[in-house]
């Protein structure tokens, strides 16, 4: 694998767990064991009910495009060759939203409401980013 120059998450604390599951091909979010509320990004306790009990619950991996932007001119040097590229907020069927990208869909085709499903892109040995693919109707 050639040197990967884009920013990477720091594998500490909850982020180590989240991306650890991604490396295994699983999209998991925290879910409160008390009130069953899903949450993302990871937090120490449930802001809905105050419970400290939670698990890394497996997501259905399915959701829809909530909003997006198309970056025409990258403002970080590592993405300078990527433009135009879309960044997408996906609303998971569980209710949480996750920032990611939809691959295989041109920025012109991308639309709010589009159904998508998670996949994983191995950008380094340790980091597999959760990305999304269009679900054909």
């Amino acid at each position: 694998m050639s040197e990967y120059e884009k920013p990477l998450p720091v594998l500490e604390g909850f982020s180590a767990d989240f991306y650890g599951f991604c490396k295994q091909g699983e999209l998991r979010f925290q879910r409160c064991s008390e009130c069953q509320a899903w949450r993302h990004v990871p937090r120490e306790l449930c802001a809905e009910c105050g419970s400290w009990d939670w698990e890394w619950a497996l997501s259905s991996g399915k959701g829809e495009v909530f909003t997006f932007t198309v970056v025409g001119r990258a403002l970080h040097p590592a993405f300078a060759e990527d433009g135009p590229y879309a960044v997408t907020v996906v609303q998971m069927d569980e209710g949480v939203r996750v920032l990611s990208k939809v691959q295989g869909v041109s920025p012109e085709e991308l639309a709010i409401g589009m159904r998508v499903e998670v996949g994983f892109e191995a950008v380094t040995d340790a980091i597999h980013l959760p990305i999304f693919n269009r679900v054909s109707a």
């Binding site: 932007t69 001119r73 970080h76």
Partner: protein, 385 residues
């Protein structure tokens, strides 16, 4: 209720090439010295300093200026919402006796130094949600403010039918106002809707001309009690009320139940309520214009129009000088310079003192200043002559 006043304002020149020729601290010190001098004060009388987040420390500002009696030093960590939010805390400080004269400095070399666009990706600790951005945003190329906020603008367009030409109307208004302000970096550079629409997409729906300038410069104001203000040479501008607030969650943009509810949604009713005023009482508004949509969004959340109506509100000259609610008569961050919101306060003070010539809002009695920062923190100050 005891009132506080703004009694001194100061600015540096605003520029891009070749740069300010001063350090980041230097531009703030120059603006501060001018504000203190205008207020008829000596640096040794400044006993409160509220530095802008991450751009300077009270200790070094005091040591350079000669503020040898510093008692009160505090920073409101709200990015561009800090200046208007600091008016609230400064007013409380002078009215409770924690300080007599509070200096609010801001400034940077946003052009010749580290570019504004790169600040967070170079130092994630510079904003409260920095570690979240590092682990969950940056890996996907979601690295800078125009990208973060553009997803809100996109959603607004989706839900309310807001159009690019309406964002353009905001950009054009700021540019038009800048033609009346010789200090503005875009003075002498008018813009048409065709120019706007032809500018390249930076983060769709944000075009190049939807985005604020990157400039060098500093601005500062001095706050004191109404009682002390009476003994000073400038015409005091009263702080009727000021408030600040945060979106929820404030450190993460995407998982807000209501994506349009920002800090200003909480702050605006508080400020208007305390002042006993409504948005229709405002003769002008200085709205933190990091990007065009943020102006539209804040006009809605501050209550100048209903949510979803911002697009039509900004059309037809309503926010231009001579219109119902002139916005950013100095040209704002979009066409004057990016002075982190402090120049919005300075311009509001000028308008309320009067005598601005063709840039003067006729019979200006009450003005609103807002701030926007980080992932949607908000602040508002209601000022009066």
């Amino acid at each position: 209720m005891k009132e506080a006043c703004i009694v001194g304002i100061g600015e540096t020149d605003y520029c891009r090439k070749p740069g300010s020729g001063l350090s980041q601290l230097g531009v703030q010190l120059q603006a501060s010295a001018r504000a203190i001098g205008e207020a008829g004060l000596k640096a040794s009388e400044i006993d409160g300093i509220m530095p802008f987040p991450n751009l300077g420390r009270a200790e070094e500002i005091a040591a350079n200026l000669g503020c040898e009696n510093l008692r009160y030093a505090a920073t409101i960590h709200m990015g561009g919402a800090a200046p208007a939010a600091s008016l609230q805390s400064a007013a409380a400080a002078v009215n409770s006796g924690m300080a007599n004269y509070v200096l609010l400095p801001a400034g940077w070399n946003g052009y010749s130094g580290a570019r504004v666009r790169q600040t967070v990706s170079q130092d994630v600790s510079s904003i409260p949600g920095g570690a979240i951005a590092r682990d969950y945003y940056l890996p996907f190329g979601f690295t800078a403010p125009p990208q973060w906020y553009s997803v809100m603008a996109r959603r607004h367009m989706h839900e309310f039918g807001t159009r690019s030409e309406q964002l353009g109307a905001i950009a054009l208004t700021m540019r038009k106002h800048a033609q009346l302000n010789p200090k503005a970096v875009m003075h002498g550079k008018p813009m048409t809707m065709d120019d706007y629409l032809a500018s390249p997409m930076l983060a769709d729906p944000y075009r190049f001309f939807d985005c604020c300038l990157e400039t060098d410069g500093g601005a500062a104001v001095v706050v004191t009690s109404a009682e002390r203000a009476r003994d000073l040479p400038t015409r005091p501008v009263r702080i009727l009320a000021a408030a600040c607030g945060q979106p929820y969650p404030a450190d993460e943009i995407t998982n807000r139940r209501d994506i349009f509810k920002t800090g200003l949604t909480i702050a605006a009713p508080e400020a208007f309520g305390k002042a006993g005023l409504t948005p229709s009482d405002a003769d002008f508004a200085m709205i933190y214009d990091c990007f065009t949509f943020e102006v539209l969004q804040q006009l809605e959340e501050a209550g100048f129009c209903q949510r979803g109506e911002g697009g039509s509100f900004v059309e037809g000259g309503r926010i231009e000088l001579g219109g119902e609610l002139p916005v950013n008569t100095h040209g704002g961050l979009l066409s004057e310079a990016h002075v982190l919101g402090m120049s919005h306060i300075v311009e509001a003070v000028r308008q309320l003192r009067g005598g601005l010539g063709e840039r003067q809002v006729k019979d200006a009695q009450v003005g609103v200043v807002t701030g926007w920062g980080d992932f949607g923190d908000g602040s508002i100050a209601l000022l009066a002559r």
